[in-house]
């Protein structure tokens, strides 16, 4: 049966991915820690504290793009997954699957970039693995990183902790990573200065935690974009989230590229942004703290958490309408109409 095969859409980070996780992986592998479905697993090892543990694989094409490369991505993505549960990232592993024929100069450049990102985030790469597969079996190289962090006492951040009344804070403009990679990959002939936002967000999160003990949920909207992450949190917490289109920052060049291609920036990937659901009285202080960090200078409130309709995300459009925002379904493709 052709329908019984994995499709590319299963890796898009949207609805098909969620269906695969829920119907296949969770149904067989479920345990309370996995079922939390946060960016990192959080668990106690003994009475001394809680660990955060996560893993992610990086398969970006091209390997180098404006603003970053697969090495920086592999560190930042895993560091951010740890940061999104409030953990202080400590140790990373890096496993390389190399394709026969990959120029060693490229590998050296990627490793140097990985090292630079790890230094910036203050984490150490303490374990690794190398495999080589035959030409044609991989797209140059794939990197898997796993990360271990420590969750400070009193910190309880989860996508399931959102409460009605919370302010929805976004750390900056969306869509830069996805558009920069797309334009680089497709060589569409646009003259563009759009750069990926790929960045480690752990120091930003640390500053936010200093400013407020009432940060309920954090998430970095990577594949599937802002829309998918908001829907995930609304469902996990059983609340509604309303955002205001006019308040969601999108850089002009990203907006223009989205317009030409027929993309909705709400669904375009980011690698250096976060969403925070914060008790409303603490939101101004959190934003002040974020603005002091290089990766939170454009932090802003884009909406609020409501009690109803549970599990839904609504958007008040600029022109006065309202629409439902759902998860990404499959991949976005340029319009042909």
């Amino acid at each position: 049966m052709p329908r019984a095969r994995v499709l590319l859409g299963h890796g898009s980070g949207g609805k098909l991915t969620h269906q695969l996780i829920e119907s296949l992986f969770l149904s067989q592998l479920a345990n309370p820690i996995l079922k939390a479905l946060d960016d990192s697993a959080v668990f106690s090892v003994d009475s001394r504290g809680r660990l955060a543990f996560t893993t992610d694989s990086y398969v970006v094409r091209p390997l180098f793009f404006p603003g970053g490369d697969i090495g920086r991505l592999a560190v930042c993505g895993t560091v951010n997954d740890l940061a999104m549960v409030g953990a202080t990232p400590l140790y990373l592993s890096a496993a390389f699957i190399l394709e026969e024929g990959l120029p060693l100069a490229d590998l050296r450049r990627i490793t140097a970039s990985l090292k630079g990102a790890a230094r910036e985030a203050g984490v150490k790469i303490v374990a690794g693995d190398t495999k080589v597969v035959e030409r044609g079996s991989a797209d140059g190289l794939f990197i898997n990183t796993a990360g271990l962090g420590l969750v400070p006492e009193g910190v309880d951040i989860s996508g399931s902790n959102a409460r009605p009344g919370d302010a929805v804070i976004l750390s900056g403009p969306i869509g830069n990573h996805g558009i920069s990679v797309l334009l680089e990959r497709q060589q569409m002939g646009f003259v563009s200065t759009v750069k990926s936002d790929v960045a480690p967000l752990n120091l930003l999160v640390a500053a936010m935690l200093q400013a407020s003990p009432n940060i309920h949920a954090l998430r970095d909207p990577t594949r599937g974009g802002l829309a998918t992450s908001l829907v995930e949190m609304a469902r996990q917490s059983g609340v509604a989230i309303r955002i205001h289109e006019g308040k969601v920052p999108v850089d002009e060049e990203v907006a223009a590229a989205c317009e030409i291609l027929g993309y909705d920036p709400l669904y375009v990937a980011n690698e250096g942004k976060l969403i925070a659901l914060v008790a409303p009285q603490d939101a101004p202080g959190v934003i002040r703290a974020m603005k002091k960090s290089p990766y939170g200078r454009q932090a802003t409130i884009i909406g609020e958490v409501l009690a109803e309709p549970r599990g839904k995300v609504l958007m008040a459009t600029r022109v006065g309408g309202t629409r439902i925002v759902d998860m990404l379904s499959g991949e976005q493709f340029p319009r042909i109409c």
């Binding site: 052709p2 269906q19 027929g262 459009t317 022109v319 499959g330 493709f333 042909i336 109409c337």
Partner: protein, 362 residues
């Protein structure tokens, strides 16, 4: 790119919406022909701004949706040939044909590649001289010039392993077929902006002349669409029927002569089969005389079984503006964007997908 914010100004939109809400004539049904308009209307929540007596209907303007099963079956059959690489636009991947989709064929081993422009397919052909590379071309007048340009480039390069399968279609003949069938009352047409940048406004002149229906060629920003609706209502109030251009920043009456010339260099007009509308004369683009060397159907082996339709799917009626998607019994249950039964649920510009994703009034 400041123009984007300019055409999304709340005050301007509200003033136009207020002008539309003052409509005191009889109920009107306005059809937006183009899929990009359908999506823009939902994305910006415009339906919620209109009074009940101004109704919007979605038309047959999504090129993926109007591609019949038989065309998709042909593409899958070509791709299933081990010596073939088939390239097409991403939106075509998930569209179910009679027996499977291109995405499923790819997962089963067929070499199917998503191309962001037809020129990419030419590059694939250059890089794979031992393979036959087929570009499955889909789209209206908007994309046809770039496909034509890629064919002319392949000819200039003397490529012998580059082939073309056409599902390219033309909008005005489909509008004529829809109006001629008379199944649905249309009081005004919001004509497609992107298509019109190529063909101009003149090819729509038969609509007011022969059917007394006013037309406005509209852009895709919320203010554009609201202004187009207001212009249609003004014409109805004055008893006028003309083709007006709201999208003046991009559309000229004569269109884009250079693009039209490129199209004519590669294509000739002929009959075509439309999903939901059936065969329509003079509505398709085929390779012109002298370009036969690129005809995939002529040069490559292709075994197809008789086409079949999903029994419960009512995409055909959706495309003709006869029903709204929720009136289809499988909408949102048996047919979703993840598991689409009909093409209107697959394409990002499909009416069913727009209804499902944005849930009007939600």
């Amino acid at each position: 790119m400041r123009f984007l914010t300019e055409f999304r100004q709340p005050a301007l939109a509200e003033a136009l919406a207020e002008r539309i809400r003052r409509w005191s004539g009889p109920p009107v049904s306005l059809m937006e022909v183009c899929g990009t308009h359908t999506v823009a209307i939902f994305r910006h929540g415009l339906r919620g701004l209109l009074p009940p007596q101004v109704r919007l209907l979605s038309g047959p303007g999504c090129p993926v949706c109007v591609t019949p099963n038989r065309e998709i079956d042909k593409a899958i059959a070509l791709a299933s040939n081990p010596g073939v690489i088939l390239a097409t636009f991403g939106d075509m991947m998930k569209v179910p044909g009679s027996y499977s989709s291109l995405a499923e064929a790819k997962a089963s081993g067929a070499d199917v590649r998503v191309a962001y422009s037809p020129m990419e397919a030419v590059e694939i052909a250059q890089g794979n001289p031992k393979k036959a590379v087929v570009f499955f071309g889909v789209g209206f007048e908007t994309t046809a010039p770039t496909t034509a340009a890629s064919l002319l480039e392949a000819k200039r390069l003397g490529l012998r392993n580059f082939f073309f399968l056409s599902a390219h279609k033309l909008v005005p003949p489909a509008l004529m077929a829809l109006l001629e069938a008379g199944e649905v009352r249309i009081d005004g047409l919001i004509c497609p902006g992107h298509v019109s940048t190529i063909i101009g406004s003149r090819p729509y002149e038969f609509i007011p002349r022969d059917y007394a229906i006013p037309c406005v060629i509209s852009g895709f920003e919320p203010v554009d669409i609201l202004q187009a609706i207001a212009m249609l209502l003004d014409m109805r109030a004055e008893g006028k029927a003309e083709v007006a251009i709201q999208y003046r920043r991009a559309v000229r009456p004569q269109g884009n002569p250079q693009a039209l010339e490129t199209m004519a260099g590669a294509f000739q007009v002929g009959g075509a089969e439309w999903r939901g509308l059936g065969p329509i004369p003079q509505s398709g683009l085929h390779l012109r005389d002298g370009m036969e060397a690129f005809a995939a159907e002529r040069h490559l082996e292709m075994k197809i079984r008789p086409p079949r339709e999903a029994v419960a799917c009512r995409c055909g009626e959706v495309l003709r503006g006869l029903i709204n998607p929720p009136e289809c019994s499988i909408f949102g249950t048996g047919c979703t964007p993840e598991h689409p039964v009909g093409p209107c649920m697959v394409s990002t510009e499909g009416t069913c997908a727009a209804w499902f994703l944005y849930k009007p009034g939600g």
